[in-house]
């Protein structure tokens, strides 16, 4: 397409945003909000210190986006056709770019309720350019049994995405978001915003299997009202560099969050995962389970924060993080942290980093299972406490196969 080549947009400056909005309109985010976000992106430093002076391993400061290909057809969304049952129930699943225009009330009720980009450089960047993504709205009291399974696939330019999921009071749904890219997709920079009303129950899983050349920086934020329940599960299996951040805020009593994440860095892959659960009210619960592995020269880091604020009496939090190193060149850092300002709370955290145990290998070998196969089996089993908490048997099987393929590549 030569016409496209002539007018290709490069970089994430003001001129790029001008051209983009001129061509395809503002979509669901006002022009003012976009330019404000772009200013923040330009002004904010890359967050250098997370805690105690620890810095991002993946030096985002050196990220040079001046020549980044930015397009108005950055990705293809899929899975947006709701089933008859979903449609009858009043559930909305829509392209993010059309959400405000088509579902104004539902959109306005949720948009911006969980995400605050004011001090966040890359979330600001995503907001400024966001075009791709999903809008899912489950009205009050609607219980949808079948999962909504949708996502997007990047193409030849950077993807800026915004996915907004809103579940009304007493509503219940399962959402599986697929993130895919092509080898020519340079960047996926996105936001996922989850807003749960009282007693809402959402199971949200992300299955990220972007191409091995794509960089990803995705910020996920959830807000829970009283007695709301969120099960969030992230499989970060693709990408060259993947930065994945999840924060859930329990704003009212009775809220419960289960955060599950897994990644497996192979080749030259880096994965940086951060999870944070904020207990802002009493009698809130959270459970965090992270499993990661590294092989080849794969790098990974996990930062897990649990914050229990001063009023959150009776909060109950646990965080368990285990990492498996399958080669001498792989490296995984693990930094779990608890910050507790309330009394009478229960909080637990534990972390391990290690190799496959020789005793397990020997045991399997005495059963006739060759060593390489035993390693694969044990490594796959290591992920199972995380995999088994993803929704739907079909997705769990897909993840097992994806993990097996990564292990298989190593054995050959």
């Amino acid at each position: 397409m030569s016409a496209k080549a002539e007018t290709a947009i490069r970089g994430v400056g003001r001129a790029s945003l001008d051209t983009l909005l001129e061509r395809s309109g503002v979509g669901s985010i006002s022009s003012q909000a976009r330019y404000d976000a772009l200013s923040r992106y330009e002004e904010l430093p890359v967050r250098v210190a997370i805690r105690g002076g620890r810095t991002w391993k993946q030096d985002l400061e050196k990220l040079d986006l001046t020549d980044l290909a930015v397009g108005d057809d950055d990705a293809v969304e899929f899975g947006l056709e709701p089933s008859p049952a979903a449609r009858r129930s009043g559930v909305t699943i829509e392209r993010f770019s059309l959400a405000r225009e088509r579902h104004r009330d539902a959109f306005e009720r949720a948009f911006g309720r969980a995400v605050d980009t004011r001090d966040d450089k890359f979330a600001s960047l995503a907001l400024a350019f966001a075009r791709t993504g999903l809008f899912i709205d489950v009205p009050d009291g609607v219980v949808l049994d079948e999962p909504l399974d949708a996502g997007f696939q990047g193409r030849e330019s950077a993807v800026f995405s915004y996915t907004l999921v809103s579940v009304g009071a007493g509503g219940r749904a399962t959402v599986i978001e697929r993130v895919r890219s092509e080898s020519g997709t340079p960047l996926v920079c996105g936001i996922v915003e989850i807003v749960l009303a009282e007693r809402a129950h959402l199971t949200y899983a992300v299955d990220q299997r972007a191409a091995a050349t794509t960089r990803l920086i995705v910020t996920r934020r959830a807000s829970l009202a009283a007695d709301a329940q969120l099960e969030i599960a992230c499989a970060e299996l693709g990408g060259l560099h993947a930065v994945s951040r999840v924060r859930a805020v329990e704003r009212a009593p009775g809220a419960r969050v289960q955060t599950v994440a897994l990644f497996f860095s192979d080749g030259a892959q880096h994965v940086d995962l951060e999870s944070e659960t904020i207990h802002a009210a009493g009698n809130t619960q959270s459970q965090t389970i992270v499993r990661s592995a590294g092989t080849d020269r794969g790098q990974g880091r996990y930062i897990g924060n649990i914050k229990i604020l001063a009023d959150a009496h009776g909060a109950d939090a646990s965080l368990r993080d285990d990492a498996l190193l399958l080669s001498a060149g792989a490296h995984i850092d693990s930094v779990p942290a608890l910050e507790i300002a309330a009394n009478d709370v229960r909080a637990f955290h534990g972390a391990t980093v290690g190799a496959i145990s020789e005793e397990e290998l020997f045991y399997a070998q005495t059963r006739g299972i060759p060593r390489a196969e035993a390693e694969r089996m044990i490594a796959l089993g290591f992920f199972e406490p995380a995999v088994s908490r993803f929704p739907t048997e079909a997705l769990r099987d897909e993840l097992r196969v994806a993990l097996e393929n990564k292990l298989g590549a190593k054995a050959v």
Binding site: E359, F362, Y363, T366, R367, G368, E373, L380, G381, F382
Partner: protein, 257 residues
Amino acid sequence: MSERGLQITGLRANVQGNEILKGIDLTVEPGSVQALMGPNGSGKSTLAFSIAGHPSYEVSAGSVTLDGEEILGLAPDKRAKAGLFLSFQYPAAIPGVSVANFIRSARQSLHPDDLTPAKFRKLIFEQLDVLEMDAAFLSRYVNDGFSGGEKKRLEMLQLAMLAPKYAILDETDSGLDIDALGSVGASVDALRKSETGKETGFLIITHYPRILQHITADRVHIMLDGRIVKSGGPELAHEIEREGYDAIREQVAASVG
């Protein structure tokens, strides 16, 4: 050499530089049951691990042949492939791997495609019955959170499902209550009476003679300080029960002295 049997000749082995096995000679004929008895620290488990190929046990001399084939140079899985099975005293847990998948993989490695999935299921359910276990056991993770009795039952389930030529049972009776011991005995008994198991030779390693009330040994060997010091018929087990290992130790000392 085409001589049948699991033949251990002049076997010496070290653990972290200490010689634990000081020349072991022992043969397990097909279909026979050999009992190896000895106090703690006599080297019984070292013998089991050395035969199975544990990387921490260094064999310095001797040979172990399985139906004529030298197995000492082989990787542990190749020894299993040759027909060896070791029931562990302390089996390792493999979290995240179900009992069913583990046994299926093992069976597939040892006897590729010899059972249809339906026949595999039928066989494993029969064995569960013998061991008085229910089907839920199959979906649990291998030895993960198992009681002592469950671990030993899983070892017996694998023994039955893998149909080895020679099986070493290392302290299978330790930590078992009477019921579990009865199940283990019944399982070995059923295997020995079956078409696939009637030729299986057993080396039963034990501290206490009580397992030998459930599985009758053809020969009993007494091990002390890395050597077999006495061999005899089943009556030798009763002698141990009555008089303990110290009496044997004194006899040996007297004969040497």
